[in-house]
């Protein structure tokens, strides 16, 4: 497992949409739970991917047991607002008045930042929860944040509120939340990335924006779906020889798409060669972008290989096994 993530109880996971952020979140959480760490996965009012990834049915705002030591919840923003008001406003009468007032409800629904703040305040509350022995109820809380474009906004909402509201219970609560989010010794921020042009750019940008907004950057980057070289050793050398000696210059695109294929051995070989060349292109592209990623960030970057499985659950399982084996303290580059 990734050593630096063990230190902090709170782990925020973000990344550009589609990089496998939820899959990695699920795998990290399962990996922690498998080692006996009591772990909670938190989703932030989204179309939840956890059902497929953890093989559960996650309702709205409802704590679900996944396996021993692993629970999950998909926060519902409106519930978080109600709960936050109950926690932050000392008088039950005031809370009832506000909740019973349609205009007040409209205001809280439409006002910017209220939902995000209420969800973070809920995360703070979960973080502070203790069991019968007075020990923290969860050893790790893994929060699946919105995609990187919105993650900075989400994470900085507490300090924005603190600066704006200044006094009173909400300002105090905002301060407490901001202290957790801004402190590297309390929370880790993990970015999931793909070894591709735009995801790498966005990850580098994200680190900069986090530094500007929170005074801290990313802690770990996980490069997901890294393609290994399709062939190695003698086979790779023979393959190069084969490609160099191909008769006629057929189009690679035609071969890939099977245009003009007649089912003969020669045609099939050409398509197999084109397929492996495509896979090798992926590998080379990955090398290039991983190098760029490592050069642009002063953050540990770990590679996770691509798994050719057909469903999320199987991919998550393979990933857990992989992360479990990944006990070396040094970040590894698979593609090099």
């Amino acid at each position: 497992m990734i050593a630096s993530l063990d230190d902090n109880r709170l782990i925020f996971v973000t990344g550009k949409g589609g990089v496998g952020k939820s899959t990695v979140t699920a795998a990290l959480a399962r990996g922690l739970a498998r080692r006996g760490e009591r772990t909670l996965v938190v989703e932030t009012d989204v179309f939840s991917a956890m059902d497929g990834l953890l093989d559960i049915e996650l309702g709205d705002h409802e704590m679900v047991d996944v396996e021993p030591d692993l629970q999950a919840i998909n926060l519902k923003a409106s519930e978080c607002v109600v709960e936050a008001m109950a926690r932050l406003i000392p008088s039950e009468r005031i809370v009832r008045t506000l909740l019973g007032n349609r205009i007040a409800q409209t205001f809280f629904e439409a006002a910017p930042g209220v939902n995000q703040f209420a969800m973070l305040e809920k995360v703070r509350d979960l973080h502070a929860e203790v069991d019968e022995q007075g020990e923290p109820k969860w050893d790790h809380i893994v929060v699946d944040l919105p995609a990187s474009g919105h993650a900075v906004t989400f994470l900085s909402v507490a300090s924005t509120f603190r600066n704006m509201i200044k006094v009173g219970p909400v300002a105090e609560a905002a301060g407490k939340v901001a202290d957790i989010v801004d402190d590297r010794s309390v929370s880790s921020i993990v970015a999931v990335c793909l070894p591709e042009e735009m995801p790498v750019n966005e990850t580098v940008e994200l680190d900069g924006k986090l530094r500007d907004a929170l005074g801290r950057g990313l802690d770990v980057v996980l490069a997901n779906m890294v393609h290994r070289p399709p062939l190695d050793g003698q086979a790779a050398r023979d393959f190069d020889l084969l490609v160099d000696s191909l008769e006629g210059a057929g189009s690679m695109v035609d071969a890939l798409l099977g245009r003009g294929a007649d089912g003969t051995g020669a045609h099939r070989i050409r398509r197999i060669i084109a397929g492996l060349q495509l896979a090798d292109d992926w590998h080379r592209r990955d090398l290039h972008h991983l190098k760029r990623l490592r050069e642009s960030l002063e953050v540990d970057v770990y590679d996770i290989p691509v798994f050719y499985e057909s469903d999320g659950l199987s991919v998550a399982r393979r990933m857990i096994d992989f992360l479990d084996r990944e006990t070396r303290p040094e970040p590894q580059s698979l593609a090099s």
Partner: protein, 382 residues
Amino acid sequence: MSQPITPIIEDGRLIVCAGPGGVGKTTTAAALGLQAALRGRRCIVLTIDPAKRLANSLGLNRLTNEPQRIEFNGQGEEDPGGLWAMMLDQTETFEELLRRNAPDSASLERSRSNDIYRLMSTTLHGIQEYAALEKLHELYTSGDFDLVVLDTPPTANALDFLDAPKRLRRFFDRRVMKWFLPDDQRSTGLVSRFINPGTVVLKLLRRFLGDSFVDELVEFFDTFQYLQETLEERGELIEYILSDVRTHFLVVTSPDPRRIDEAFHFRDKLSSLQQEVTAFLVNRVTPPFDEEDLEGLGPEDLQRVRRADAAPLEAPDALLDAMGEHYAALARLARRDRHSLQRLADAVGQDAVQSIPVLGEDVHSIDQLRTLGSFMTSQGDA
């Protein structure tokens, strides 16, 4: 099989590209725009993604809040069509909105210095989606372009922008505003002041949000009263634009089963907003590799595709085995993709699905955009 994309780039006035992240949505939007330009249309691609991605695919260092013309090979001086692109700068767009609508410079100044305004225009989303619609409206009605292609942010709340005018109008709702405006003429009478539930709420808000924040809030609503009308008007216009028959929604996705599920989610969300998806573009489909290709192959087949004078391979049997092993993994991926496409076609109809094969590198040049676009508008299936 009919081809769903060509008619809409030839005749549409607005194409909204929605869909999960990481499927090449921004690049797809740019490729659609280029195809329209190549067909003689004046097209602008607007991205509202906070990350600067469209510029990457267009070979530009950066995009600005103003339309930038994109040069591409093969475009003649006299060609009627053209391609423009821009990236939304929400702060700048909101500023423009204020400048155009503020009754006087004093209220403009007050707006700018108000903390809540600054929070709204820079930090929090919602306003970003609204600003996008504001820009969309401007481009749509400017008369400069035949077609607007709108790229949406790749998040679960990507379609929030369709709700944005309604949300903001709710926020500036007169009923909400009037609690915060104690001097409002509408409630001058002692009795109405007394029974105004807002007075109670305001007092409560002061208790737990603090006086300075509530004062700021009151000032905010006071200053922004003038926006109320504009927002209402814009909201209606935008609803009109979105319901126009020449407005099309495309869901861009990839064959990853999870992204297909998300595509269904986008369709359902759109349908709840009374919008129909014109077509589903499935990007990055693995070429049709098939395990059958491996059957009965021997080292002699390797020789058959080689020049007669080529040096012998060191270990052709081992090479064929290693190739076969990796190709089988690619074939599994291809099978998964075929299954995904079939599942989508079963649900939405074959005619609404267009697949685009993955053929190699990232797209980051105009030529690659053109190739991508030609797959989008071709009959050939990946």
